[in-house]
Amino acid sequence: MPTIRLQGISKRYPGSTASAVDSLDLTVNDGDFMCMLGPSGCGKTTTLRMIAGLEQPTGGSISVGDRVLDSVEQGVFVAPERREMGLVFQSYALWPHMTIRQNTEYGLRLRKVGRAERSSRADEVMNVMGIGRFADRYPSQLSGGQQQRVALARMLAVNPGVMLLDEPLSNLDSRLRLEMRTELKRIHQDFRSTIVFVTHDQWEAMTLATRIAVLADGRLQQIGTPTDIYDRPRNRFVAGFLGNPPINIIEFTDDEPAPHIAAAHRFAETRLHGATAVPGSIGIRPESIRIEPPSQAPAPDALTIDASIFAILPTGGSWTIEAVADGRHLFATTSVPPTCRPGDDVRLRVAAHEVHVFDTEGERVGLS
């Protein structure tokens, strides 16, 4: 399967001043499981729909291999039915007046596949998806999870090279979601297809994707492997969007900083020694924080913050610890049973390479 290439793609709705998608460049390689991740309204669904041809871009171009699907400059627009892609919607969009079999066979019927082959291919995908026994039922007689499988079967029946998935798991309960995630991963391996997946669920993106594209306000924030995005967020938005509990951000304000902020500021400046950037804030992932007794000698190459324990929240197998430093709440997580108790004075220690430094614009700076 060739590469999907989005170049300077923009979408501005008539009567709207802001662009839903603003000159987006994105390349989805063959065999990628690309997740487009972002808060609602960030333009991820619009982008997916433009790839599908259900929306027409107002700027830029989209091509698959050397076939141009959209080009505003050249006046090219290929209708969705001619793009040979598959799309699964958030609401599944099964046709309520057709049985499961009819739904599954629809695409084959349009491709003029003979009756016998049609039926055997439909059987095959229905069995793969575990819905073979519902073949003669109507969608409304099926549960949400089963409907989702039908929607996938309907797409898989025509085996499109590019599969587009628009938040396909968001209507499912958490157990089914886990099950379907495994299913999607299996489909990706078995069918060796390129998948573009839209979600606002960071967990889903982290577990499924080979690469993640983080979007906000119609712009691409960062693209990379899940580990990349998590460990080296390019800006404060990406850092804050991934991770639960969210990353602790300590901002450096001009007016008389609290002692821990001043300490953090000094630390950040030392880290940036020699660079021209001015640190605006630092971010610390909760799992990077070690909790130590206040008597512990400060480590040479680490940021330390004196704080007191505010609350300890067990989350089953791990603990979220809420600490307060100069009136500011910081979160730490640990998988070791904590020995401290609420009210204890502690010292929070973060290894230098685990401190993310951002400049005043919120962009990542520094060596790590």
């Binding site: 259900l54 929306e55 209507n171």
Partner: protein, 585 residues
């Protein structure tokens, strides 16, 4: 139990009330069809009141059966089938243009094309006769006849104009029903077909039309049911050439005091109504499988018409001109002209609106200065108004009982009983009221000729809508606010007065105003019940039509149209109600 006891008591009272006002009249009337009436004891050679099949024979088999029943039946079926087909086609195309394309002025059209539905049907009939009336009928000639072109009878009267008028009248109804269905249709259903390779035509054929089928069937049966009871149009346009449908045949039987035959015909009309409703329910049951989860509305679902944009807009414009501008324009013009189709300046006058001493002996004053008109206006407002308020309040109470009553039987019975008038065409219902209330029965005096009877029948006729409005608003309310008040120590009456009714204020207002508008336009319901001196606007207009006073009749019908249109428009603007529901008459 404290919550429930008054509910049950109110439910039982309502059951008794509607039992007497709905079930009993219908049964009484049907019984008349099978028992000898005093007038026919000699013919039938049986005692008065003894069971007989004479009326069945007379309506279905006798030599007069063709005139009495079969030909009117054929006419009814023909007219209704044709108008259903035409309005579905026209309405379907217009609905699609309005909801799914980049038609010019679609917002404006989406309101403008609904206007005909807010007017009384027979206003169109009067406009038609004003233009096409030829020398076959007496009175002032039509415009065409006056300029020397005699329209043929088939164009001036009978099936053709009736079908055209019903088509124009019911097209908005189709636009509303199909337009709503199209709007509710999840666009992702179409998108997913396109993703699988279906072109636009294939999507429409395999996805959109099958999913619209319930709405189409619904529209068809509802139109059919309404045409069945529709009296005014055929009365005005059928009379000169003796073109009858079941409703007018029924009216004729009543006016010749053939009560038995009338009862049989009314029974037949009810039966056809039931049949069409059964079809509707059957299909709706099937359609319940189609319930879909709505997705996020597609952002761009209108289709560019390209070079069809101009013709499509022209088509909508033409529909508006033909169904609104021309009829209302003709009616309005005719009321300010002495002689038809004479457009010289001295032929124009405002006498028919504000003059005195006109040369029309039975109606010598202008419409706006005539005491008779104002008395009819007053009657219309207080009779229909009272009935509408009663229907609205009772509808809320019935809704409350249906939703809250612990007895399912009580709720279901009440719901179905109050829905019954929907199946019974207005004119048949009027016949039923005539049979029941023409004489004293026990403690209830004869009500024929009184305003009470008119209030009752207007109210009962609107119960299906009022009840449905009540049920749906009570369903949305949920028991919690009331339970909270109960926990706080409020008794049933206090809860009703302080919690339930205030919350339902809006629903109640709709439940009162919509029946009011429908009642103001309604003719078939009261045409055989109103007596001179107790006229409402619609029956008064029909009397003027019978006199052949074109200007006055058209003037009065314009007043009715103005009230109905203004009222509906105001309701729609202030309440944002769905026009597609409950605008009967």
């Amino acid at each position: 139990m404290g919550l429930r006891r008054p509910t049950t008591a109110i439910g039982v009272l309502a059951l008794i009330l509607f039992g007497y006002l709905i079930a009993v009249p219908i049964v009484t009337m049907l019984v008349q069809g099978f028992t000898v009436s005093p007038k026919d004891t000699v013919v039938v050679q049986q005692q008065e009141g003894s069971p007989t099949s004479y009326y069945l024979w007379r309506v279905f088999l006798s030599p007069v059966a063709a005139d009495l029943f079969w030909r009117p039946l054929v006419h009814t079926l023909l007219v209704s089938t044709c108008s259903v087909v035409f309005s579905l086609i026209l309405g379907g195309v217009l609905a699609w243009l309005i909801t799914r394309t980049d038609l010019w002025g679609r917002r404006w059209f989406s309101t403008a094309l609904i206007v005909p539905y807010m007017l009384p049907t027979w206003a169109f009939a009067l406009a038609w006769t004003t233009i096409f009336k030829n020398r076959t009928a007496g009175g002032q000639p039509g415009w065409l006849e006056s300029i020397g072109v005699t329209p043929p009878d088939w164009l001036a009267y009978g099936g053709v104009p009736i079908t055209i008028i019903f088509t124009l009248y019911f097209t908005p109804f189709v636009i509303l029903l199909l337009g709503n269905a199209l709007k509710r249709l999840d666009p992702q259903l179409e998108d997913s077909a396109r993703m699988l390779g279906a072109g636009y035509g294939t999507v429409v054929r395999t996805v959109v039309v099958p999913l619209m089928r319930p709405a189409l069937v619904s529209a068809a049966t509802l139109i059919l049911a309404k045409v069945l009871g529709e009296f005014g149009v055929t009365y005005i346009l059928g009379l000169p050439t003796d073109f009858n449908v079941l409703a007018t045949s029924l009216y004729r039987s009543i006016s010749t005091r053939e009560d038995g035959a009338a009862a049989v015909i009314a029974g037949a009309i009810i039966l056809i109504g039931l049949l069409s409703l059964w079809v509707d329910v059957h299909f709706l049951k099937e359609a319940r499988r189609f319930v879909t989860i709505g997705g996020k509305g597609a952002m761009d679902r209108t289709r560019a018409l390209g070079r069809w944009r101009v013709p499509a807009t022209a088509l909508c414009g033409l529909a508006f001109v033909l169904s609104v501008v021309v009829p209302l324009g003709v009616l309005a013009l005719s009321t300010v002209m002495r002689r038809p189709a004479d457009f010289s300046a001295d032929n124009f006058t405002l006498d028919y609106w504000v003059g005195h001493g006109l040369d029309t002996p039975a109606f010598t004053d202008g419409v706006l200065v005539s005491g008779a008109v104002w008395s009819a206006v007053w009657n219309t407002f207080w009779i229909v108004g009272l009935a509408a308020v009663a229907a609205g309040v009772l509808g809320q109470l019935v809704g409350y009982v249906v939703v809250r009553s612990p007895s399912r039987l009580l709720g279901t019975t009440l719901r179905q009983l109050t829905f019954l008038p929907y199946l019974v065409p207005g004119i048949a219902f009027a016949v039923a009221y005539l049979s029941l209330f023409a004489v004293d029965r026990g403690p209830i005096p004869a009500l024929y000729g009184t305003s009470t009877l008119l209030v009752l029948i207007y109210m009962v006729e609107q119960m299906p809508f009022a009840t449905r409005a009540g049920i749906s608003s009570m369903m949305q309310l949920g028991p919690e606010p009331e339970e909270a008040a109960q926990v706080a120590g409020a008794g049933w009456w206090r809860r009703m007065a302080h919690v339930v009714l205030p919350i339902q204020k809006r629903a109640l207002a709709t439940g009162v105003l919509m029946p009011f508008i429908a009642g103001v336009r309604s003719l078939s319901l009261v045409v055989i019940l109103a007596v001179p001196g107790m006229d409402v606007l619609t029956t008064f207009a029909i009397r003027l039509v019978e006199y052949g006073y074109t200007q006055a009749a058209n003037g009065v019908v314009l007043v009715v149209s103005a009230v109905a249109f203004g009222g509906t428009y105001a309701i729609q603007k202030t309440m944002k109600t769905d026009l597609g529901r409950g605008l009967g008459g």
